[in-house]
Symmetry: D3
Subunit: 323 residues, 6 copies
Amino acid sequence: MKNDPFFEPVSGAVLPRFAGVPSFMRLPVVEDNHDRIGDVDIGIVGVPWDGGTTNRPGARHGPRQLRDLSTMIRATHPVSHISPFKMVNCADMGDCPINPADLNDTMERVTAFYKDVKSRGITPMTAGGDHLVSLPVLRGIASDAPVGMIHFDAHTDLFDSYFDGFKYTHGTPFRRAIEEGLLDPKRVVQIGIRGTMYDGEDIEWGRANGVTIITMDEFADQTIADVMKQARSIVGDQPTYVSFDIDCIDPAFAPGTGTPEIGGFTTREAQLLVRQLKGLNLIGADLVEVSPPFDESGNTAWVGVSMMFEILCMLAVAVDQRN
Amino acid sequence: MKNDPFFEPVSGAVLPRFAGVPSFMRLPVVEDNHDRIGDVDIGIVGVPWDGGTTNRPGARHGPRQLRDLSTMIRATHPVSHISPFKMVNCADMGDCPINPADLNDTMERVTAFYKDVKSRGITPMTAGGDHLVSLPVLRGIASDAPVGMIHFDAHTDLFDSYFDGFKYTHGTPFRRAIEEGLLDPKRVVQIGIRGTMYDGEDIEWGRANGVTIITMDEFADQTIADVMKQARSIVGDQPTYVSFDIDCIDPAFAPGTGTPEIGGFTTREAQLLVRQLKGLNLIGADLVEVSPPFDESGNTAWVGVSMMFEILCMLAVAVDQRN
Amino acid sequence: MKNDPFFEPVSGAVLPRFAGVPSFMRLPVVEDNHDRIGDVDIGIVGVPWDGGTTNRPGARHGPRQLRDLSTMIRATHPVSHISPFKMVNCADMGDCPINPADLNDTMERVTAFYKDVKSRGITPMTAGGDHLVSLPVLRGIASDAPVGMIHFDAHTDLFDSYFDGFKYTHGTPFRRAIEEGLLDPKRVVQIGIRGTMYDGEDIEWGRANGVTIITMDEFADQTIADVMKQARSIVGDQPTYVSFDIDCIDPAFAPGTGTPEIGGFTTREAQLLVRQLKGLNLIGADLVEVSPPFDESGNTAWVGVSMMFEILCMLAVAVDQRN
Amino acid sequence: MKNDPFFEPVSGAVLPRFAGVPSFMRLPVVEDNHDRIGDVDIGIVGVPWDGGTTNRPGARHGPRQLRDLSTMIRATHPVSHISPFKMVNCADMGDCPINPADLNDTMERVTAFYKDVKSRGITPMTAGGDHLVSLPVLRGIASDAPVGMIHFDAHTDLFDSYFDGFKYTHGTPFRRAIEEGLLDPKRVVQIGIRGTMYDGEDIEWGRANGVTIITMDEFADQTIADVMKQARSIVGDQPTYVSFDIDCIDPAFAPGTGTPEIGGFTTREAQLLVRQLKGLNLIGADLVEVSPPFDESGNTAWVGVSMMFEILCMLAVAVDQRN
Amino acid sequence: MKNDPFFEPVSGAVLPRFAGVPSFMRLPVVEDNHDRIGDVDIGIVGVPWDGGTTNRPGARHGPRQLRDLSTMIRATHPVSHISPFKMVNCADMGDCPINPADLNDTMERVTAFYKDVKSRGITPMTAGGDHLVSLPVLRGIASDAPVGMIHFDAHTDLFDSYFDGFKYTHGTPFRRAIEEGLLDPKRVVQIGIRGTMYDGEDIEWGRANGVTIITMDEFADQTIADVMKQARSIVGDQPTYVSFDIDCIDPAFAPGTGTPEIGGFTTREAQLLVRQLKGLNLIGADLVEVSPPFDESGNTAWVGVSMMFEILCMLAVAVDQRN
Amino acid sequence: MKNDPFFEPVSGAVLPRFAGVPSFMRLPVVEDNHDRIGDVDIGIVGVPWDGGTTNRPGARHGPRQLRDLSTMIRATHPVSHISPFKMVNCADMGDCPINPADLNDTMERVTAFYKDVKSRGITPMTAGGDHLVSLPVLRGIASDAPVGMIHFDAHTDLFDSYFDGFKYTHGTPFRRAIEEGLLDPKRVVQIGIRGTMYDGEDIEWGRANGVTIITMDEFADQTIADVMKQARSIVGDQPTYVSFDIDCIDPAFAPGTGTPEIGGFTTREAQLLVRQLKGLNLIGADLVEVSPPFDESGNTAWVGVSMMFEILCMLAVAVDQRN
């Protein structure tokens, strides 16, 4: 149902934006035992976990800071005039249970949580956490058949292993997801790849397996419209996931992240890229790698939630199309 | 009812302390329309308002940051072994409605909120906000008869007016409260007063009206036990309010506040002072003047919530005695 | 008189730039009782007030930090080679009196101050303060007839009211100014508008009343030259005010502000925009919303004073033309 | 050999303290393949690992920041006039190999490293890392027979498990060490314990097993001399380990740590405590839980290395006695 | 003349404390060409120079930040009730000219400035700058005969030279001053000395020459009253200078300084120490080594100006006695 | 010799990037007494000195912070696929000896160091320090004949003198270098010049002497390819030095510097500029003016080392061509 008042964010006229217990975008908190859980169309879920981080940790604190800053988001998109909160029922589903001491246990808990989300027909918008989070999320929502993905990132996250054979880090989720048949590599597009390389094996493997990798330099030689036209053509109208690593954006705009690379997207470019997702058959999305200890000011989280709102508008259109 | 599982904080074993929507001390959020509101003994209330601040603003952001840091508080006091969450039913009552654009309207909204709290038999623990907040709170809960107060602060907040006659600032609440008959000045004790003075008229007025003012220098010449023995004797066993301005603590420990004064309490001293409130007939308390923009790290808020827990234990004993 | 040595900034060769009591751009402080007040052409005025701020406060501390950073400004513009301090007599007029506890009183004091400025024939360059400051300034200098305005901002500040009818906030000054006949809406251009919207009523009202609103997306589709050609054509050669909200600039460049919106101007774009004001009949300008508690480093204030110097060059040309 | 010039720190007269590749206290870097490894008496070792951290991570970055700040340490103790670098041969042994992705693998690597250190007759001074580091260190150096320990900390780190049975976190190392026979609980003293409690089971278990726990309140009721006289008596003249968690110090002095508790030691108290270790049969020491992302200023690391130097003087005396 | 309204600080009732061009303690700026210069009793002078700093620079920015924070100082001392601004005529004399590129030139400029100050009968209160500043100040005001000094510091600043023979750094001013006959070493007391030592030659030289050095440990073993009784007895009633290095205070309270040493004074102890200077024949004082880049928050500068006010009260008493 | 394993950086698979004593890019430290010094092709040298800084100091701390952040650099360039560490032998040569108290002594020490570097046939990559560093470096490596220079900067550094005739500051190195015949002004190109001007004499002098100055505005009117084509044509195939002042980059990207100017290069633009140096006859390079106290986060240093890697790739190609 559209325009359900229960699913309206708290208005700034009722309670100023700096006030109140901070839920994502001031939406109602509807966990799985809530009596309105059956009416949720899009569930925003925090996954406060950085167990896959190989260098600078802290993304486990991401959902908390993102919730705080998200209370400054208003109701309507300034260009498309989409009001996602009116178009579909959005809710904060709380944080997915995790175990900071045990990687495998956490992976299983996250997968179970997202299987449940999927079984309820809810489209998830995830706030990480580090990028390894995407793997158990995909295990939860893409277990039926491989899905496509549009992936904004400075890094491919297609590495094979770290530290002498360790398979699960925030640099490997999509290699695993392709190996496990969760992603169809021919329907995967990666945009924004840059930064010094170990040896390039990740890019070679990706391209050999059919992944479309658009590096920052290739991006810069085209218009945003052309880049996204190509991306849209590759994923087509089949189910597609969106993964947005905040480090695709230049660290001047988003310094609070574990693996910054200079020469990245401006926020303006990031906005224009995401707005071109409109009409795709989006089945879920994540925004990951906001690391609050590396930006106590909250400026990075503000970029993060601003991008989450951009993505949410695209998810709302997709859900609306499917309804 | 004691040990009601509904009123237990979320355990760190179930959800790590950095996870989840942050309510005060991970307690359930029970606003006035919640069906368990009738069972609340102590309600923690945010008043996100700094409309009385004459110099460095930002205390309006206090409740949000205090909630965030409060998730690191555990269940039991290390010295007294009091478990307030087991002893009585505690809840986060959300933030009191305020109007950042209108001082008088806000004063009325806060008073109305606290009248309701009082009428429900709930003992309020308030998180400010600047110190002017205490005035409408007292109007709400002390309207029947003047109450006593133990007041920890670097400043008396007994000034008459600012800026050519303006009567309502964070430097004047207790002058107003005494004038309005909300506080019985003969049962008011102020501890920790220090800092350069305008002219000392506030102290003179206070003493002339019967307020007991223990300056930092007078405090330092006595034992904490003696200071608090005197304070306890002054307030006696009649209804007493506790007001704790974070700036009573030295700015090395709590820099995030609007009007710091050097030479203040250590946190250790503050803890020992508050622990001597045990057994008094406490009817409410506040902790005010945490200003997050002046300490983005959250260290000051951590001091603040640690002191809130100390005070909460004392309130729980008082409520338990009254029950 | 041009090249009056009294009105020269203190040279870095005489006193290093980090030394000395910091006046705006190291100019002489000439308050209204100074014997050279009659010779001032352009007066830089601080209005340290954030009484209209609905969310993150702190702009009251703006003038102080702007003065500090402004001591790094040198004498001559690198592109136009304009030396405003040689072209006309510039002075720091100190801070306008305000009352942080009383909105109406402050509005009246500011208006009175600017009426006096106008009566002396001084062109004011204001350093805010939040954006509500512009309203009493306009009341002071535009009381004879409606003026035009070129307005750089992320927000229209054309809202009707906040918090159930409150009419005076930093989101409403230009609606009030149009209603009061201070601004001629047909000669008002707003550039850089973006960010999530409440409901768009502000934009609708503005356009319905003749205001030209150039959103960030419309800006991005044109050259800066074209945008400013349009703006110049709209304001024409009649008296025109310039209002520059620091939040028109992207928060990566200027994070220290209360209501940041991603996807904003680079400082380079902002410079090019302002340089196109040359030759307009400018009667005053302001730069507002620098909030030091949200950027203690002073980087935002450095952007702010760098833009103030750009605007000052344009004012100097205008004053020189009128002389 | 004493006074070996190879083992002298680089003098500030030769290279200013802010210059040069930063080794611990400007000592030579002597890793295990270095030809002078056989001459090292005390080896300072970094263990850059926070795999046991249950809440705020970042201690993995500790050794790097500690090395940086340690370059401000000079040669001689101001009170005892001990010159540890002249008394025995001290060296920076680099960082112990760890695997950030695998807890068990890391534990084994650390243990192997310290077995090697022990076999070379080197007394280790460890810079963590989180407190779980102490367990594999003890496995490496205390495998022959249980040792005693003087432990400065806000927490007992005697918990049984976290998150439903996980046995290895920074809250459990000493329970494991006692269970494994690495520590003799009757020769273990813990000083500074404070902070809100889960349920007190850790303290009960410790006391039931013979551990002497001196809480902050018990500490405050005695002189430092008396506290340490008791501690010295308990550990006696048998081999004793020193473990110093930076969070024993109050967060005003050392905010950059994962689990701060207010009401802690001043640095002055911490210095006086450590100076009373003189003459004990110390076989190793660690300083843990400095978390740079929570204090980018380096102030906490400066406290950390200042305490490391205090401890190092005590180790030098012990080594000198054994030589 | 007492109570001259010209020399009153701007009242917070007239202009809020965050407003206005920031002079020291809101006093009038009276430079040497001002027509009231002849009426100044105590002149507060900035010396924005850190040319003697051997490690972490930035004290050149001290006077600016101290002025900013000093606007929060009010009129009257809370314990002694001294109102220095009423007792004698105080003024901000601006910043002494310096040459950041040339040590010798700067030394000469500072000396010349202070000779002029002395010749006018003005008692100077200096805000540094690094500690080398004290040498040219003493050359300016102590050229007639050696003076005594009470010196609060973590370091003796009695070193002979740095970097192979360089004689003028912030570690050497008082060795030079004694050699030059500016200070009478038998009337010099140093309090608070601590921190790791190079070799102790500075202390040996000082004691051999008659300087009384009270280390932090010696201080801690006595009451403040006893320490200051000894100090007062040593300087007697002859002319005495006060030099206050902010690093005598513990870095938890004052982190923004170049050479912090843990285990220092609390601000409370520092206040009590300075209050015991009452009645001495004080001819000048300085407060040095506040380094803003190492504490952008201004908290250290706030400690600095709070101590400057304490010292100023003592200077006012001394001036009043001489008048 | 290529691919010498001794000169390989430590791999992140062996030791995580946050671990270990931080040398530049994890290369071996090979000082002049090391037995492999004869095999070094490119030596990275720190010059920790800011003795030429006229305003905000701190660049002396640059090399330390650059080393720390440089450990995040990987092995291969993402666009050119150059692996400089495989192509030639790179090493960290430590920090050049300097004397922070004596400008002339430091200049001589630096020159002597670089003469030695040159005599060994090593191509130096310098990490400053302030920009005056470039002068003694050029004296060391360009003493045979004038060299050309491509200079990226916001400022010309062609000033004559400061503070009444002082000739050696970070604003004058290249005027001196041209006067001394170290640089051939006709083969000098400066790119990125902007910011308010004193009087423009520096630019006039430069152009009169044949220096090509491309201001930011002139840069913006051309493609990067065209700008660099012109630059390449001017320096030709003769020996050329590269000097990269971090302040050429916009302060949003690199705030930690002493003299920021808004409207600068993005890091993306800076990367593209440097990549056009390929194939030039480069004999050395420097990256200067990173000032850690003005950016404790390390973000600016990260930009700095990312640009150092870009430049290093260009140096490696040049060395490889000469070998």
